[in-house]
């Protein structure tokens, strides 16, 4: 699996209220949520972002609430991957569970700039910065989580186990 797109860069501690403000949480419809993706961090984000684009952020991305609406909004906005220096733990967990690709890489998150064009190979963990002609290597997921992702998310895994 590969992702390829233009980078939208954000700072540290981007929280779930910025990713999807609570005023929109009276629905759980992914497409409705996607319309407000990143709205309180950058009100024009959804006007500018194109399908396949990539979010790159600083430390503690996704801190705050446990709302799965946050990774759901990003996934439904057709962002192909989030790269950050570090992720807040519930956001990390939720992304794995719903199948939003995320990558933790301090080096990549620091070096990649707004507007860079990058390509990610999820199998090898290699991130190519086409604009800067550079490469970064990301931490791979632990095998336990790779298993969840390979089975298509947590619910698919549970379904398979319940059938046994």
């Amino acid at each position: 699996m590969k992702a390829h797109g233009k980078v939208w860069k954000f700072g540290n501690d981007i929280n779930t209220d910025e990713i999807i403000p609570a005023r929109y949480l009276n629905t759980s419809d992914p497409d409705e949520l996607a319309q407000h993706c990143m709205e309180d961090a950058d009100p024009d984000f959804m006007k500018k972002a194109r399908p396949g684009d990539i979010i790159v952020a600083g430390k503690n991305f996704g801190c705050g609430s446990s709302r799965e609406h946050a990774p759901i909004a990003i996934k439904a906005a057709k962002i192909s991957c989030v790269i950050a220096q570090s992720f807040a733990r519930i956001f990390y967990r939720n992304s794995v569970n719903i199948g939003l690709p995320i990558i933790e890489s301090e080096e990549a998150a620091k070096d990649i700039e707004q507007g860079d064009e990058i390509e990610i190979d999820f199998d090898s963990g290699v991130i190519k910065n086409i604009t800067k002609n550079k490469e970064y290597r990301a931490k791979p997921f632990p095998p336990f989580m790779q298993d969840i992702i390979a089975k298509g998310g947590l619910m698919a895994k549970v379904k398979a186990e319940l059938k046994k």
């Binding site: 209220d17 403000p21 009276n26 503690n60 446990s66």
Partner: protein, 419 residues
């Protein structure tokens, strides 16, 4: 090598002798919680599984507290999903308007939270129950769905940081000030993925309410859980609420901590966290910021002890003419006690608005949303951009004492400025 309380509870629920930090385990859960925002997604996923029953209809709590009483058609639809699911699967702990309260204040009152339990909730402040010596953490809706079906979940065993708080608290300094001070010192990712264990003679002096306030905000430092060793106060509280069994766990003397942090509580001042992160902690006395609104309530500080503190300060005084003061008892029980003790009278006399239990403004849902440029002092736990309304509004986190004093003076204030 010994184990911490958190490690012992996780080991017991994973059916193992011991667990090591970093280890991935599958653990049984004793309680699974969801609210009107997170449970609808979990319910949809649960229904997609095609199983015929939940793992245990007495170990699931569905608490529609966020937009309650329903603020609009959409939120009414969300709660309807919970109500119908509760009927269909005979979920014992579903609480609707008139019975509902803010989840993390309500579940302890109901005796659903006991020492030694392993609890997950699709709400980040599920970490509150660590106050009782339980392992308790926030997860997402998918985790909730899976646990409702299987009674199990996966965890990475967290490393632990020990926070030793010692010394006598100054007047008007509370558990809220301690935790704001700690988050201010370590930052909003200062305990990322880790367990925060609170100990020391100041902690032992804290009431159960105070411990809940502190455990509640562990997530604001990025922690997986916050935990307190159970003691006489814990047992007394639990026995007054339920006859169900519990297990007391204690950290071994040679348990492993990645860090030990010490705080002299006598040096902690009434503290305010400035926008837009809980780590922006500053002494209330130095703030001097004019304000438009004050909110006293939430799962952090909406309990009876909090309302008593606020009432003591508000008694015989009036809210500043430029300020709106909203007081939201966290549960029906808190509301009734406040009525019986005459606190509600004091609030209304002071010209505050008192509402039914709800999360309401805490997450910018309803019942006190801020306009552009407005500033609010709140006893809640988050002050992120747009948290209580307009993206250009501001929230300052504080204790009930600071909030009440600020409401009277029309600016952020230290309560002793009123004397």
């Amino acid at each position: 090598m010994g184990m911490t309380i958190s490690e012992k509870i996780l080991a017991a629920h994973a059916g193992k002798e011991r667990v090591e930090p970093g280890e991935l385990i599958e653990a049984k859960v004793d309680l699974v919680l969801g609210n009107d925002i997170t449970a609808p997604i979990a319910i949809k996923e649960f229904e997609d599984l095609g199983v015929s029953k939940v793992f245990d209809n007495e170990k699931i709590a569905l608490i529609p507290d966020h937009f309650t009483p329903n603020k609009d058609i959409k939120s009414a639809q969300q709660v309807k999903i919970l109500r119908e699911f509760a009927k269909k699967y005979n979920i014992v702990h579903f609480y609707d308007v008139g019975r509902v309260g803010v989840e993390h204040a309500l579940l302890p009152e109901l005796g659903l939270v006991r020492p030694g339990m392993c609890i997950i909730g699709a709400d980040s402040h599920t970490c509150t129950y660590g106050a009782f010596g339980a392992f308790s953490t926030g997860v997402g809706s998918t985790d909730m769905a899976a646990a409702m079906a299987t009674g199990k979940t996966w965890f990475k065993v967290p490393e632990s940081i020990k926070f030793v708080v010692y010394g006598k608290l100054q007047p008007y300094v509370s558990a809220k000030d301690i935790i704001l001070h700690i988050i201010g010192s370590i930052g909003v990712d200062g305990a990322l993925y880790k367990s925060m264990e609170f100990t020391g003679d100041t902690i032992a002096e804290l009431s159960m309410e105070g411990r809940m306030t502190m455990a509640n905000m562990a997530i604001e430092a990025g922690a997986k859980n916050g935990i307190f060793a159970p003691d006489g106060k814990t047992v007394e509280y639990i026995k007054s609420r339920t006859g169900l069994p519990y297990t007391l766990y204690y950290s071994d003397d040679d348990a492993r901590y990645v860090e030990v942090k010490e705080y002299d509580a006598s040096k902690i001042e009434p503290t305010v966290a400035f926008p837009h992160l809980p780590e922006n902690a500053k002494p209330a006395r130095e703030a001097g910021i004019p304000i438009d609104q004050v909110v006293i309530g939430s799962c952090t500080n909406g309990r009876i002890e909090d309302l008593r503190v606020a009432a003591k300060i508000l008694k015989g005084r009036k809210v500043h003419k430029d300020v709106r003061l909203l007081i939201i008892p966290a549960t029906q029980e808190v509301y009734r006690k406040a009525l019986e003790e005459g606190l509600i009278d004091i609030f209304i006399e002071a010209e505050a608005a008192v509402s039914a239990p709800t999360c309401g403004p805490c997450l910018g849902g309803h019942m006190g949303i801020l306009a552009e440029g407005e500033r609010c002092v709140a006893t809640t736990n988050r002050n992120f951009v747009g948290r209580m309304g307009h993206p250009k509004s501001e929230v300052y986190l504080a204790s009930p004492a600071v909030a009440a004093a600020s409401a009277i003076l029309g600016r952020i204030a230290h309560p002793d400025e009123l004397r």
